[in-house]
Amino acid sequence: MLISNIEVIPNMRVVRHLGLVQGSTVRAKHAGKDIMAGFKNIFGGELGAYTELLQESRDEAVARMSEQARAIGANAVINVRFSTSAIAAGASEILAYGTAVEVAETGR
């Protein structure tokens, strides 16, 4: 599955347009990590645990999106965008969305 955030992929031609697909996750870190993050708010610096968490959830959102695309017979998702929103303290929703298409290589 080809995932890209540009609309026109070099050497490829869109043969079929299958519409919007999306994938999202909502995740939270356990309380211990939240307490550590509270301390970090005093000292400043990077929150490694959260960086990791958000990266993992983003991968998960992309995986769900490509699963949905595969189900409708696409072989690529183009023009992918990410969006994040905090829905509660310590939990955030990550959304990935894009256009599912069927692409074919253009012989050159």
């Binding site: 080809l2 995932i3 890209s4 955030n5 540009i6 609309e7 026109v8 992929i9 070099p10 050497n11 939240d34 993050a37 509270g38 970090k40 708010n41 005093i42 000292f43 400043g44 610096g45 990077e46 929150l47 959260y50 960086t51 958000l54 990266q55 983003r58 992918v80 965008r81 990410f82 969006s83 994040t84 929103s85 905090a86 303290a89 310590g90 955030s92 050159r108």
Partner: protein, 153 residues
């Protein structure tokens, strides 16, 4: 007595935030500058189409993200600033660091694939509230784009 104790806690936190926050920031800026120098060859563009000469390159999506937390000193300074208005320098440097770090991580990922350029860069910023409901706790910045790699590589 109780008020005095609270005042002492406040000043201790302020001093800790100032000391550690300052040190973390200058260390971070140093590392950012060094890595930016190293990765200068990898051009990052925010245009949507590949530049001429790279039209037959392979494309891969690359991402870089970072969560950075404010320190207590910055929170207090920003709170005071809010009374009079103006530039919040303490938050500006925080977001500047986060954005540059996210781009660097994305570039590093692209460099691992042997890419020559990254196009269609997009940013996404979100606030992580954490324990404090008011004010910002930490910010997350995500940078993502499409890495262009030479087809023979």
């Amino acid at each position: 007595m109780e008020a005095l104790l609270q005042l002492a806690i406040f000043f201790t936190l302020l001093a800790l935030g100032y000391l550690f926050g300052r040190r973390a920031e200058s260390k971070h800026y140093k590392s950012i500058r060094e890595r930016e120098e190293q990765l200068r060859y990898l051009v990052v563009l925010n245009q949507r189409f590949p530049p001429p000469g790279m039209l037959s390159h392979r494309t891969d999506m690359v991402t870089g993200n970072v969560v950075i937390s404010v320190d207590y000193f910055k929170t207090v300074v920003a709170g005071l600033r809010n009374l009079v208005g103006g530039n919040l320098n303490s938050y500006e440097s925080l977001l500047d660091r986060a954005r540059r770090e996210a781009i660097l991580r994305m570039q590093e990922q692209a460099a691992l694939r042997g890419a020559e350029a990254v196009i269609n860069l997009k940013f996404e910023t979100s606030r992580i509230a954490g324990n404090s409901a008011k004010g910002i706790g930490s910010v997350e910045v995500l940078a993502y784009g499409t890495a262009l790699t030479h087809p023979d590589k």
